[in-house]
């Protein structure tokens, strides 16, 4: 079925079109919306696009970085100032998907996708959105919780603070096919160390719930402690708390619950 394609020069016009039409979807890199159209998704009757250069801008010069929603994973991998995001960007798709898929779109990718968002959740990223009520900034965690209830929202950019060291931010994706494959589980950890102790631990998990979630019990086990074997074991044993993993072709919910602590332990102890 043919759909109406509306192309706008500015993101704000696109946001207006999106918020006034419940059957409209914003087309970013195409890996989600075109896939839905190819499958004959009749819920989509309008496709909205914006050719706004602000949506593809990268600002990685300072301690806080901002990525336009339309920035592709290939561009992140080509940017040396974004080295801390290379591991999550590289874990997505093959080269063609990385040339197309965007950081904004990844916020909407359902299981077993959305790996980049796991990294953003651990980094406590902020999402700038434009909707019927104008533009505003919200935390990525709040964004994910409200995502499916707000179809008319356009993501403009995502920003986060650069981790102080490569040790402070870690990422691990478990897939059955290497180097490409959907996520069995995905883990990211932000572990700022202050005076030898972890202050502000954030652990994020992908494919462990309907959306990417924080492992709060594991975070509590880490907070205020040094990253030693006993702390890591406590965090690993708390990893499943609050999770509701899916059953799918890549793994059962039972399997995911069994392995998430093992991989969290490996991530925290710096094992390959």
């Amino acid at each position: 079925m043919a759909v109406t394609v509306k192309t706008f020069a500015s993101a704000s016009e696109a946001a207006g079109a999106l918020s006034s039409d419940r059957s409209a979807r914003y087309l970013g890199g195409g890996t989600l919306v075109m896939r839905a159209l190819n499958e004959g998704d009749v819920a989509i009757s309008t496709v909205v696009r914006a050719q706004d250069q602000a949506l593809t801008r990268i600002d990685a010069s300072g301690p806080r970085i901002t990525l336009g929603a339309g920035v592709t994973f290939a561009r992140i991998l080509a940017d040396r100032d974004l080295g801390f995001l290379h591991a999550p960007a590289r874990s997505i798709g093959g080269p063609a998907v990385r040339n197309m898929g965007t950081v904004g779109g990844n916020l909407f990718a359902p299981n077993p996708y959305g790996d980049f968002t796991v990294a953003l959740l651990a980094l406590d990223a902020t999402v700038a959105v434009a909707g019927a009520f104008g533009a505003r900034d919200i935390g990525v965690e709040e964004f994910l919780q409200a995502r499916d209830r707000q179809p008319g929202t356009l993501v403009l950019s995502i920003s986060c603070t650069r981790p102080v060291s490569s040790e402070a931010f870690r990422y691990r994706k478990i897939a059955r096919i290497k180097p490409k494959g959907g996520s069995v589980i995905t883990l990211a950890a932000h572990l700022p160390i202050s005076g030898g102790r972890i202050a502000g631990a954030r652990i994020a998990l992908g494919s462990m719930a309907p959306t990417q979630i924080r492992a709060r019990a594991a975070e509590r086990a880490l907070e205020g402690r040094s990253l030693d074997a006993a702390t890591i074991a406590a965090a690993a044993s708390a990893a499943t708390e609050g999770t509701s993993p899916p059953d799918n072709a890549l793994g059962s919910a039972w399997y995911r619950r069994e392995i998430v602590g093992v991989h969290l332990r490996r991530l925290l102890s710096g094992q390959e």
Partner: protein, 158 residues
Amino acid sequence: MSKIPLQFRHNGRDVAIFVDGGTNLLVALRELIGDMTPKFGCGQGGCGTCSVLIDGELHLSCLTLAETVAGRSVETLDGMKQGPNLHPLQRAFADNFAAQCGYCTPGMLMAAKALLDRNPSPSRDEVIEAISGNICRCTGYEPIINAILAAAGGRVSA
């Protein structure tokens, strides 16, 4: 619903077509231009056999909204041969038994071309990474990897 006029460069030649809203580039190439070299595999971005180069960058044509290539350059396998001669990559695929059923071959060749265009002497790991978005159910990949390395090494005459 009205048709949308679309002009772009297809293998070095300007083309002009009319597309329906929401038409993907693969359908435009196959059904409206008659270039049957990109194949339909999954329609989901999982198999890679519809791969084409857009302004030299590897893209999946089935997930590309046709009208987004307006004014841009699209290369498909059909544009790879050089007159009556096969491209060195095509020759290497033939010589190294890299095609069995052949359905993945157009995408494999475009992914390989995208790699060699920017990295003329890749390592084996770089070749594996470059074709990681392309699925082959026949060969087990080894002959394909060897063919791309052979083409890069210049051991195959064009």
